[in-house]
Symmetry: C3
Subunit: 309 residues, 3 copies
């Protein structure tokens, strides 16, 4: 149970897509599409938004910052991974302090599962938190931007779509948010492919079709969502080598021909070119990678506006 809806069922925070009702998710996508189409205005003029990152991520921070700027908000950046929180202050004290400065919106990345929800539970009534990624749990705006990108490419009826997610699902908050959103939107089929050592052994993959063989998994799919392989998986012994990983789970142009002819390729970035994805796929005509990035700003505008507007 997340505290993201208030007593009157209004969206208070955006922490996860897990319990977000379909109509609310679709409304966010619709508004994001309007922003992607150029909708303008400064509904957040005079409102302060703070990026509060306990784990570094320049790209996600810039995307939220651009979204806040386009809405007219004042932006403050707090890189908690390098700042004086090293003085021993807790994440909660940091958040409460910046909240006391009059900041109404927080974009928070946290290394622990539930780290953002724990902060949200202690926020003042007028304060909204947006989860920019917590542990392995959730990255809801990434899930939303992936759905927007898929919808632009394939239309609103997801029931006919076969979507394949490939890679380190076990450690991926992106995958979890994507899975939740795909289910909410009633996607036809979800296939999963990756080394068994990188697949979760809980209910995360319930209802998904798990394929060990990447070639078989690709057969006829409409979208391939590749995940980033973190290099620490090698050190942890979960993956033998980058070469082996590329051989078994790297998306090459040749492999992509096994998917539907109009299949699209997605990746949350940053890409390990030559590991999970080849250059000619990443930069090829079926790649939506930069479209995802563009949609990221639109989706974050929709979320900020919904929570703070």
């Amino acid at each position: 149970m997340t505290p993201q809806l208030d007593a009157s069922d209004r969206l208070r925070h955006l922490l996860t897509l897990e319990e977000l009702p379909r109509e609310r998710l679709v409304a966010l996508l619709d508004r994001a599409q309007a922003f992607a189409d150029g909708a303008a205005g400064r509904p957040l003029a005079g409102t302060a938004v703070c990026t509060l990152f306990f784990e570094p991520s320049t790209r996600t921070r810039l995307s939220f910052q651009r979204a806040a700027q386009r809405l007219g908000a004042d932006v403050l950046n707090f890189d908690a991974s390098t700042s004086s929180t090293s003085k021993g202050e807790t994440a909660l004290d940091t958040m409460k302090n910046i909240e006391a400065m009059g900041v109404r919106g927080f974009v928070v990345r946290h290394s622990e599962d539930g780290g953002v929800a724990a902060l949200a539970a202690r926020a003042q009534p007028g304060t909204a938190l947006l989860n920019a990624g917590d542990g392995r749990s959730a990255h809801p705006t990434q899930g939303l931007l992936d759905m927007l990108t898929l919808r632009q490419a394939k239309g609103v009826d997801f029931s006919r779509l076969k979507v394949l997610i490939v890679g380190d699902i076990r450690h991926s908050r992106v995958a979890r948010s994507d899975l939740q959103a795909l289910r909410t939107l009633g996607v036809g089929e979800i296939r999963i492919c990756g080394p068994r050592s990188l697949l979760p052994d809980d209910e995360t993959l319930d209802g998904c079709r798990i394929e060990d063989d990447f070639d078989a998994a690709l057969e006829g799919v409409d979208a391939v969502m590749m995940l980033r392989l973190q290099r620490e998986r090698m050190a942890e012994g979960l993956v033998s080598s980058l070469e082996d990983y590329h051989r078994d789970y790297g998306l090459t142009a040749q492999r992509l021909r096994l998917a539907a002819p109009d299949a699209v390729v997605m990746h949350p970035g940053p890409m390990n070119r030559g590991v999970e994805i080849d250059d000619d796929v990443a930069d090829g005509p079926q790649s939506l990678v930069l479209r995802q990035v563009a949609n990221g700003v639109a989706v974050r505008m929709a979320a900020l506006e919904a929570l703070l507007g």
Copy 2:
């Protein structure tokens, strides 16, 4: 003698509260109260303010940044503790360079006593410096926000108030600015408590009542201002251990009952919970810690407006 007043007695810089006349200090508090009550406007639109920190402090920087934003100013941040001043440029060259870029306001933190005043002495006529903390000397906006917080809680007549300051006064610029402001506002009694090794042996405490015993010191006071214990005091041999410090000078709920029933608790942050202050005091009904933070933005708006408006 500080150069913060010009020939016609106008406030040019805000470097210290030491020689700030009472009516000027009260005027800043009155204006800050108006900002705390929601006064708005963009008197600094088009004006550039630069935070220039030769010592890191994310929270103070954010507070000034938010204050400048609310006044409509453009903000530039220069973290001199990590930047290319390491190329060997002096603090003065750095300031003069940014001043030449058309920046009119500087919020400066410096590790040396008088470091900000030295820069102010070399500023152009139209340039104003705000001391965001220099060495052990002064942190004038902290002093102002503490006075504003005390005034909100206890009213404008300070002559009836007994205020206790606890901890490492020797190394504290916060304590020095508080002491100066309390005297200017004619506070009834100032009590001081802390290990003798952490009390100054100069005229800083003239007129204060020094108590070795924390319980005796708390007796009937209207406000307790706790100071942060820097952990390096242990390494320096000035404090034996965190446990001993907490036993002798930690503010517990039990101890707080020795103060007046409506006594308020203040702390400049970040707090060492469990060392100088316990959780139930820090987060309890008598704590004004977050109110101090909120007032910090208001006070800094008043100061920026007074100097640059």
Copy 3:
């Protein structure tokens, strides 16, 4: 051949002054002069400009940021030297990603010759790159601000001017951009002085008068452009010691008397005081060092407006 002009001869990027036609260079200087004289407006309101520095330089970044702010642009800062590009993403992927977020202007510093041009070649049609320094090649806005400073001091007719450039020309992008601009503006004479080990052995100095003796070089010149001596030249064995360098190539007040009586002194900063320049020269009446910094903002406003306005 740089791609900075488009098919219809419009300025698309600002990468180098090498092929910039005289009328275009003069137009930029004229517009910069208007900004230096206080011309205002917000032609870039709603436009996003990103500083993308693969090599750190706080001062250049602040100058561009101030220029963008004065034009009303939204600014994003990406310090690629400390960010998660360390995750292995290429400079190109970083730029393409931020471009996809809707950023239209990039201010790029890169450690490699041609590093900025390589990125510009891959930019979308609506995207403009400004070179904020690449390798040893070019620093065009520094060249422009030096020309503006010289023009303010000496008038528009450069044909009567003798200009002396002193120091490590071999490794200096500033010197290269200055040389190109001086030639374009038809300067009367360019003299060069510096240790042979720090002079380029290619066509960079074609047409320049090279003097080994600093005193002889100074004889009657109208402007002395000093360069910064990077301390790594000692480690590389290119310069024996700071003392020797100062003795042979340090600009002292005594030496400056060899130049024309109204000669001006320039330096791109940050200065090594006591090495290539003495305090009394740096801060003396003939020094234009801070005027250069002020002109830097004006020139960058002109460039940003020309590319994005």
